[in-house]
Symmetry: C2
DNA sequence: GTCTATAGACTGATAGAC
DNA sequence: GTCTATCAGTCTATAGAC
């Protein structure tokens, strides 16, 4: 037993139980029983139940954000500081989707924990998500570099819709599978990413061209 | 005071407090204090806290579903049993968005309650949402009538993406407003509806034409 | 650092009098 | 139907042994 084996035992047990039964149905006593440690250890190592949840969530989402930025950086380097819009969007939604869906990932505790976090949105997690805006601004900037002629408002809506499709696909994957009678293949993560990227590119008004020219692309066709 | 004034007092107080502070931070004691009734009255009238939340949610969402189907029926009648795809999608996302967003609606208890329900997704509400599939099948059928040539899988993805954009816009309206520095006008509900409908139509592969012809419309453009 | 033991506040739920 | 009183369960927090 090394110095902080108790700490990691708590983290692993908590992630497993939250992934399995959700946040509302798992008590600290369940977690310490699963981890084989004492109740007081949670308070000693994390301070409170909320901080334990927060620690689990931040470590996972920092990893995803790092992956996103690495993909973005690689795409922009390859293009001499300016990546095609589909590459930017792929860097935005790819890591999240690959982290949560897919034939194997679906069963990993980490993936199911992040899905729970997305669906149930408990208080400590909501607070962390609100600090995510700075991270998204980097992608808005990359999209602006990719589509210089496009008004800012279109950039933001496009970014928002891309995230919307990605997150809701993670949240409601079960419903989509049932609604479509299995016709929508949720194990084909790459196909799903390309689908979302393609729709987002269309929403931004074109086929990943460098200059947009027109100022009112896809939306606003009035009724 | 009629027979069930206590019951409605509880419902109103609960909706108001949940709208204001969320589900996690409102106790039954807060609700009965606000309603001016006794603690035991909640259990007498509703059975449990979860059933009280469920009753609030079902009554609101049944109203939205009714509105959706009315709009759909009107559009299909006008078109002789077959509505243009944008009208079908407008009937799907319009009532939800108008019910939750907009300059005045934002402040109504009912609207804010439904936004909370969408974000926090507490257990009793999740269970109800899972029974919503039959309702969505009606819209999938209407979309199929509208776009007869399109493969089912495209119908389902299009329906899913339309709902994704609508729901995530409701859930994350605050973040979008901050990210865009107010450039995305979330008070312009009609503009937002048209935007989502337009993108969804593009995702389905065209400009609301009657026959799709091609079988692989928007998505799947490989990397 | 980890544990036992326990305190104190709060929660949802219920039995039983009226 | 409405109330009081009370239950068992939860969480945070801490004192003190090892």
């Amino acid at each position: 037993m090394s110095t902080d084996s108790t700490r990691t035992a708590i983290l692993n047990a908590a992630e497993r139980l939250y992934a399995e039964r959700g946040f509302g149905d798992v008590t600290l006593r369940d977690i310490v029983a699963e981890a084989g440690v004492n109740l007081a250890a949670v308070n000693y190592h994390f301070g409170s139940k909320d901080e334990l949840i927060a620690e689990l969530f931040v470590s996972r989402s920092l990893a995803t954000n790092r992956e996103r930025l690495n993909e973005l950086k690689a795409a922009e380097s390859a293009g001499g500081g300016r990546a095609p819009i589909d590459a930017v969007l792929r860097a935005l939604v790819g890591p999240t989707l690959r982290g949560c869906l897919g034939p194997d990932k679906q069963r990993s505790d980490a993936a199911r924990f992040m899905i729970r976090a997305s669906i149930e949105a408990v208080a400590p997690i909501r607070k962390i998500k609100n600090r995510e805006i700075d991270h998204l601004r980097r992608f808005a900037a990359a999209m602006r570099r990719s589509l210089p002629g496009l008004p800012d408002v279109e950039i933001y809506w496009g970014l928002h819709f891309a995230l919307a499709m990605a997150h809701q696909t993670i949240r409601d994957s079960e419903r989509l599978e049932r609604l479509s009678d299995g016709k929508c293949d949720l194990d084909d993560v790459d196909g799903m990413i390309e689908r979302i990227v393609a729709v987002s590119v269309l929403a931004l008004g074109g086929n990943a061209a460098t200059d947009a020219g027109d100022t009112k692309p896809a939306a606003r066709r009035g009724r």
